[in-house]
């Protein structure tokens, strides 16, 4: 019972106290003191008539005692006592304080997970244990996250004042983002999950309500409307075995009309405010279109398309563009929708996103291209994380009769090709070709692939990488395509010029007469561009000197290759780079860090850094090429 009171009142209490003491960590402590006092007194003396006011006055007393004590210690600090005499605050003050507390909890100096945890803790009144359960993590993790967040706020001297007009929009955007993040975390929870997870949608709705009361702006009301309408579909969006039911197939009778109505009401308030619509308001408007349609067929898809056009202009994210493609597919036919998805298939952000092939599969099916649709469904199933969703997509694929396979399929062809390569090559090529399989589908006949498709996959997967990396993937693709009798598939892909070693800035250590170990390490760092820790972690048995690569994926060039044989000597196992001395018996390192041949330990990062600095005056990071 005390818990329930606390949940309903804690935001107000902590907000008022933060204004009083100027530090959210202290404020929470005093509020907790009051909670403890309540747990001691209420069971014995009965619950006070107005428990919220009781908690507030106890907490205020603690805070005022604290301020007085502090002032006695440091009169020169002269904090004004203007708040101390003040009795109950008005509703308006409460709302203002709540808003300030939200701005504080969602401050941009904090990493997003900390904003979420702090908001749920301070404004939702949730315990660390409850937050941990909702986010499938440990209580300690949340406790630390919250403590770190409070410290960060104190270190940055984040004040409790409302942000000025210049900053206000950005700060409000951060609050909205946190609330929507909490909502989606709850909305994404499966039915079998701990109830604390779906409970997050309710927490987000309450936070949205609080925010709308404190700052009734159009985007706030838009977010509230969006969340209300999405919540209205909660019962209708999954089938009996947990499989997702797409919006247009949902039983609209199961939509919660009360929630829909609350969404409409928030939307009306937002519209009355006027002004250009923001992203949340537009998404809410799209949700309203769906909610107003008595059936999927009667949906005003033209209106939805025009709302998406506006939304794409504000937030041109790949997911928004995909949703626009769906809407266009409904309004103007599957061909138009499919055309819009073509661009997206080259977008790296969507390359593992199962809904892209799922959407394409639907559109292809409507176009009568059943075999292509079947393959897209299979590809979507392979990418889906959620078991129920995967099963659902597999069933959709299975419902389409498979065409007679025409020649070899991509998946088995790649496997056969790799089986014929030596180990190191197979591993390296396997990485490249694995991406090709995932992007184009295991079950796609090799004969049906097009050069445009391979080019698209390569651009999405490796277009942004360095010339050397690009060329390595390209070599793997060419080799496979030639083997498969389709050299044309890689013909459109062009090798990129690699910067020649001479063109690079002269290494800073070139003229030093360092020892062999130092020169080998520095050249290896320079030529591999690998992180220092990974290079120091190399073992002799990991190296393939002929192939100039390690099993751990580090590659090098001629200068390193010339030095390594001397460095290794007769050693066959153990750390590649060794320290100069044997460790003292009392400080024996882990077995893997000890050389079985010499008894020396692995060279430490600190020592390597020190040697390089002494020799060149630079830090090791100067060696890495980008």
């Amino acid at each position: 019972m005390i818990d329930a009171v606390w949940r309903l009142e804690s935001a107000k209490i902590i907000a008022a106290l933060t204004r009083l003491v100027g530090d959210v960590g202290l404020a929470e402590e005093f509020a907790q003191d009051a909670l403890v006092a309540a747990m001691e007194q209420w069971p014995a003396e009965g619950m006070p008539g107005t428990p919220g006011a009781w908690l507030m006055s106890v907490a205020r007393r603690r805070a005022i005692d604290h301020i007085r004590a502090e002032r006695r210690h440091d009169l020169t600090h002269g904090r004004l006592a203007h708040d101390l005499r003040q009795g109950d605050t008005t509703g308006e003050d409460d709302r203002d304080d709540t808003l300030r507390l939200m701005f504080l909890s969602c401050h941009p100096v904090l990493p997003p997970p900390a904003r979420v945890a702090l908001t749920l803790k301070l404004l939702g009144g949730l315990t660390n244990a409850e937050i941990a359960r909702a986010f499938l993590t440990g209580e300690q993790v949340i406790a630390r996250r919250i403590a770190d967040a409070k410290r960060t706020l104190a270190e940055h001297r984040v004040g409790f004042d409302l942000p000025g007009p210049a900053e206000a929009a950005e700060r409000l955007a951060s609050v909205l983002e946190v609330v929507y993040l909490i909502f989606n975390e709850g909305y994404a929870a499966a039915s079998g999950d701990d109830l604390m997870r779906p409970g997050l949608t309710l927490e987000a709705l309450r936070l949205g309500g609080m925010l709308a009361e404190a700052a009734p702006q159009s985007e706030v009301l838009g977010l509230l409307a969006l969340m209300e309408i999405q919540t209205s579909r909660a019962d209708a969006r999954t089938g009996p075995s947990g499989e997702p039911i797409p919006l247009h197939e949902q039983n609209r009778g199961r939509w919660d009309r009360l929630r829909v109505r609350r969404g409409f009401a928030a939307m009306l308030r937002a519209r009355e405010l006027g002004g250009p619509p923001g992203p949340y308001l537009l998404q809410a408007a799209i949700a309203v279109c769906h909610a107003q349609a008595p059936s999927a067929e009667e949906t005003d898809w033209d209106q939805i398309v025009s709302l998406y056009e506006l939304l794409v202009r504000l937030t041109p994210t790949p997911v928004v563009r995909l949703n626009r493609a769906v809407a266009v597919g409904m309004a103007r036919g599957p061909r138009a929708g499919l055309d819009l998805t073509e661009d997206l298939t080259a977008d790296p952000a969507l390359r593992d996103y199962h809904l892209l092939p799922a959407v394409r599969a639907d559109l292809l099916l409507r176009l009568g291209r059943t075999e292509a649709a079947r393959r897209e469904f299979l590809r979507a199933a392979a990418l889906a994380d959620n078991a129920a969703e995967r099963a659902f997509l597999e069933r959709r694929a299975a419902a389409i009769p498979a065409a007679e396979p025409t020649g070899a399929l991509l998946g088995p062809a790649v496997a056969a090709f790799l089986a014929g390569r030596p180990g190191a090559t197979a591993r390296s090529y396997g990485q490249t070709l694995g991406r090709l399989r995932a992007a184009l589908g295991e079950h796609t006949p090799v004969a049906e692939l097009t050069p445009a498709e391979t080019a698209r996959v390569a651009a999405a997967a490796w277009g942004g990488t360095a010339a050397r990396t690009w060329n390595r993937h390209l070599a793997a693709l060419r080799s496979f395509c030639a083997w498969a009798g389709r050299p044309d598939l890689a013909a459109d892909l062009v090798r990129r010029p690699e910067p020649s070693p001479e063109a690079r800035p002269a290494p800073v250590w070139r003229d030093t007469d360092a020892a062999l170990r130092e020169r080998a390490l520095w050249w290896l760092l320079h030529e591999s561009a690998a992180p220092v820790t990974r290079v120091l972690a190399l073992n002799v048995e990991d190296l393939d000197l002929d192939d100039r690569r390690s099993r751990t994926g580090i590659t090098w060039r001629s200068r390193t290759a010339a030095l390594l044989p001397d460095l290794i000597g007769d050693r066959t196992h153990g750390p590649l780079f060794l320290s100069g001395r044997r460790p003292a018996p009392a400080r024996a390192p882990a077995e893997g860090d000890l050389c079985p041949h010499t008894g020396r330990r692995r060279l430490s990062y600190e020592r390597a850094e020190h040697l390089f600095k002494t020799a060149t005056g630079h830090t090791l990071s100067a060696l890495r090429l980008t």
């Binding site: 019972m1 818990d3 329930a4 949940r7 008539g49 309450r206 609080m210 009361e213 009360l258």
Partner: protein
């Protein structure tokens, strides 16, 4: 979880006054904004009653003298826990004064 709160009254229940209306208005506003209160309203004391028996439907006009207490208001709320609905009911009863509320979980 959702609960339906019914407030019951008998002939001894005093009629609401201005103060009660004002306090109740503020309470309803606060709870609606929080997203706790989904719907609420007052109920006419008598109403109609329909009885069905096979193919036969009988409509009777209220008031129904055999019922000592009748529902005069309802509230549909979305709460986190049973404790929370009890706390809400407590606040409500503090405003309306002596009497009875029935609290039923919507299943």
């Amino acid at each position: 979880m959702r609960y339906l709160l019914l407030s019951l009254a008998d002939e001894n229940t005093p009629a609401p006054d201005e103060k009660l209306f004002a306090e109740m208005g503020a309470f309803i506003e606060e709870m609606s904004a929080k997203g706790v209160l989904l719907a609420t309203g007052g109920l006419e004391p008598g109403g109609l009653r329909m009885t069905s028996s096979g193919e036969e439907f009988t409509v009777t006009d209220g008031p129904f003298t055999e019922a000592k207490e009748v529902a005069v208001g309802f509230a549909l709320v979305e709460v986190r826990s049973r404790d929370e609905v009890l706390e809400l009911a407590r606040r409500f009863r503090r405003i309306v004064g002596d009497g009875v509320s029935e609290i039923r979980r919507v299943q």
